[in-house]
């Protein structure tokens, strides 16, 4: 079977308090499910590749053809009642190494 091409996105997480990998995971999947539905989640196939709490950055990935959808879902994330969260897309790349280059 042919390998599915993916896009790796470096995001900066702007949040007023500390948060865990689970909270980030929940926010990400909630946003994609809310805006594109469960079928959309399977098509976009979002994944968290790396999560760095110290630098508040993460590398997330999605299927290549669904990059605009995933980016727009990331745009609309505002967190929940407990934690307000903003995700800034810093770099989009075809490899994890390429996405990591933009990390500050």
């Amino acid at each position: 079977m042919r390998r599915v091409a993916r896009r790796y996105i470096l995001v900066k997480i702007v949040c007023d308090r500390k948060f865990t990998n689970e909270q980030f995971h929940d926010a990400l999947y909630d946003a994609v499910t809310r805006f594109f539905g469960e079928l959309g989640v399977t098509r976009i196939d979002p994944r968290i590749v790396k999560f760095d709490m110290e630098s508040s950055t993460a590398i997330v990935s999605c299927e290549r053809s669904a990059t605009p959808e995933f980016e727009s879902a990331l745009t609309l994330i505002t967190g929940d009642a407990e934690v307000s969260m903003t995700l800034l897309v810093l770099r989009v790349s075809g490899t994890i190494k390429g996405a990591t280059k933009g990390r500050k």
Binding site: L76, T86, V92
Partner: protein
């Protein structure tokens, strides 16, 4: 907020200021952004309740700002704003169900129509807001209207990178080229044109004072 805009790779941002704000305060605000490597453009947002109020505001403040935007709150104000060449950008309140960017306004439009995508859509979960913006974008595309895309950020939580705004606009019906133009070249063209108009050499469209070089 300035450091966040710098992180999001913004070169220039529109700084909406109140018309009564002191020049010294404006200068200090601009300095903060420029220290972070983000250029600023002065913008005034008018929210007139009638045609006469709009015309009075334009007469008084047009020459003081790089960009003049009008929030259309009534049919009368929207008609005059779209028709008046002094108005650079018009935008509609997405919560106002009685007034939307229709074919009538698109035909009259001389400036650009703006969509504040993040402030109107993020975190609200309002399906009708998506629908209204999508329809307005369709109308703008049909009439080849100049579209400006913005986050409409009033605080750091609403800041998004230009590519994110472009991606969101693509989901709402614009093509990739149109959405990128909406966040980059379309607003830049408005600012460049207005800076030319505000320069002392400018007389009117197509006419400017040319000082011959001394030998």
């Amino acid at each position: 907020m300035a450091d966040l805009l710098s992180t999001a790779h913004y070169g220039t941002v529109g700084l909406t200021v109140a018309t009564g704000l002191l020049n010294e305060r404006i200068r200090s605000m601009r300095r903060i952004f420029e220290d972070h490597g983000v250029g600023t453009v002065l913008r005034a947002d008018f929210k007139p309740s009638s045609r006469t109020e709009l015309l009075r505001l334009l007469r008084r403040f047009r020459n003081l700002y790089d960009v003049v935007a009008v929030r259309c709150v009534s049919q009368q104000v929207a008609t005059v704003s779209c028709r008046d060449g002094r108005v650079d950008v018009v935008f509609f309140d997405v919560a106002n169900r009685n007034l939307r960017f229709s074919h009538t306004f698109a035909r009259l439009l001389r400036g650009a129509v703006e969509f504040n995508l993040v402030s109107d859509l993020a975190g609200q979960g309002d399906v009708w807001a998506f629908s209204r913006i999508r329809k307005a974008i369709m109308v703008a595309r049909e009439h080849h209207a100049n579209v400006v895309l913005s986050s409409g950020a009033r605080n750091h939580e609403m800041v998004r990178s230009p590519f994110q705004i472009s991606a969101l606009a693509m989901m709402l019906g614009l093509t990739r080229e149109e959405s990128l133009r909406g966040v980059s070249s379309a607003p830049l063209a408005i600012v460049t044109e207005n800076r030319v108009k505000r320069s002392p050499e400018y007389v009117e469209e197509g006419v400017k004072i040319v000082v011959p070089s001394r030998r």
